[in-house]
């Protein structure tokens, strides 16, 4: 049963991309456990605003776990200590009375901090722009049922496609690797006949862009999949490796 709890929140504060960051600890009294984690941060911010202090800047939008905007590293876990959810779906019932909660931004060279807990994930967009698409223009496409696709294949593509681009994979990875993100998109499109045509070029282009942007090298620790809010499977990384190596050996 949800209770009211008193907590301390230890938040990373950083004025700007170049500024030196530090932790700041705030006390919050009488927080209802039915509140979401972001609602708790809202309460904290209301408190800070009332004290004429600078509220904590953080990314958030849909608050239903699908937009991929929220991005907090809570008590050592991207999106906090619960599985298969985003920060906005984390609830205060996961925390105990008197607990000190540490909140950090994603830490990755490719995701520089903009302010406090807000980071710049433009790198993921750049990877997508390098090849995360099927090259078709609007109009002039065949009928949707022209090419049958086996259900298991379509389902596997859907599971890969459920990635929300939040960046938790790179944030969780001790190597700062973005392989799960790239693999999810490469997998989805390599599985489907519509995407297969460009599969080799896509894998090469997206991996090259990922490397260029300063992400680390995957060592298959599996932390990305373990922390992925959408449970995207590590198997996608094997498919990416396969697609990439085949493409390189064909050159």
């Amino acid at each position: 049963m949800d209770q009211y709890i008193d907590i301390k929140v230890r938040v990373w504060r950083q004025a700007g991309p170049k500024a030196q960051g530090h932790f700041e600890t705030y006390e919050l009294k009488h927080v209802f456990q039915g509140a979401s984690f972001l609602e708790m941060i809202d309460i904290l911010n209301e408190q800070l605003v009332a004290e004429h202090k600078d509220p904590v800047t953080y990314d958030h939008d849909c608050r239903e776990g699908i937009c991929g905007m929220c991005s907090m590293y809570v008590n050592g876990h991207p999106h906090g200590p619960d599985s298969a959810i985003t920060t906005c779906q984390l609830h205060m019932r996961k925390f105990k009375d008197g607990e000190t909660i540490t909140v950090e931004p994603w830490r990755s060279r490719a995701f520089p901090v903009i302010k406090d807990l807000m980071v710049d994930r433009g790198a993921y967009d750049k990877i997508m722009q390098a090849g995360g698409f099927v090259s078709v223009n609007t109009g002039g496409v065949p009928d949707a049922n022209a090419i049958p696709i086996p259900k298991p294949v379509a389902d596997e593509a859907m599971d890969a496609a459920s990635c929300i681009g939040c960046g938790a994979c790179a944030a969780a990875c001790k190597n700062g690797s973005a392989m799960l993100f790239v693999a999810a998109k490469v997998s989805q499109l390599a599985l489907l006949p519509q995407g297969k045509i460009e599969a080799a070029a896509r894998a090469k282009a997206m991996v090259a862009k990922m490397d260029e942007l300063g992400f680390g090298n995957c060592t298959n620790t599996g932390a990305c999949a373990a922390e992925c809010p959408k449970s995207v499977s590590l198997a996608n990384i094997a498919r990416l490796n396969r697609e990439f190596l085949c493409a390189k050996f064909q050159d």
Binding site: A225, A226, A235, R242, K248
Partner: protein, 229 residues
Amino acid sequence: MWLKDSSIGRKFVMSISGLALVLFLIFHGCMNLAVVFSEDAYNMICHLLGANWYALIGTIGLAFLVLVHFCYAIYLTIQNRAARGNDRYAVTGKKEGVDWASENMLVLGFCVLGFLVLHLYNFWFKMQFAEITGIETGAFDPQNGAAYVKALFTEPVWGQIYCALYLIWLAALWLHLNHGVWSALHTLGWNNLVWMKRIKVIGCIIASLAIAPFAIVVLYYLGMGIAML
């Protein structure tokens, strides 16, 4: 060159060199196992792999593989640390389903390497190297390796310490391989949703197969040494 410039290329090199070393380990371990059954057989194998040209080429190849594997590991690790950025996490939680070994492959690698130096000094230097160069290491007759192994491992106290050190080494190596083998297969693209669990089991079996012969030999002499005390 994509084997150096692309992340998957670098991982490919690690996988191939790693898997080749695993194959060598299995081969090496099986040879060692012979000593348990017949010292003569063991000496014969030692003779076959002594100062022959193919053994020399093999040795140079192995050294090259180790060097590549080591250099790439250092290179990858430097890059990976840089990828985290300037500030590191203040709190890092335990992630479910993530092997400790998988996050500490470099540490395990260094453990393996450290013992490897000891091992090379103890055996390779005094066996193959001595035979090639003909220098006098003063230890034993290069033609009777079995006797030397037995002497080293069963010598009171020091022999048992050696055995213990070797067992620690083998444990580190097993952890390294338990992640390394399936990870290498995964990096080569030999994995999918269905095979994910199987590949990990296969990796574990191969790691165990590679380590078991060594461990059996060490335990065999450990037992013998304790009995002789």
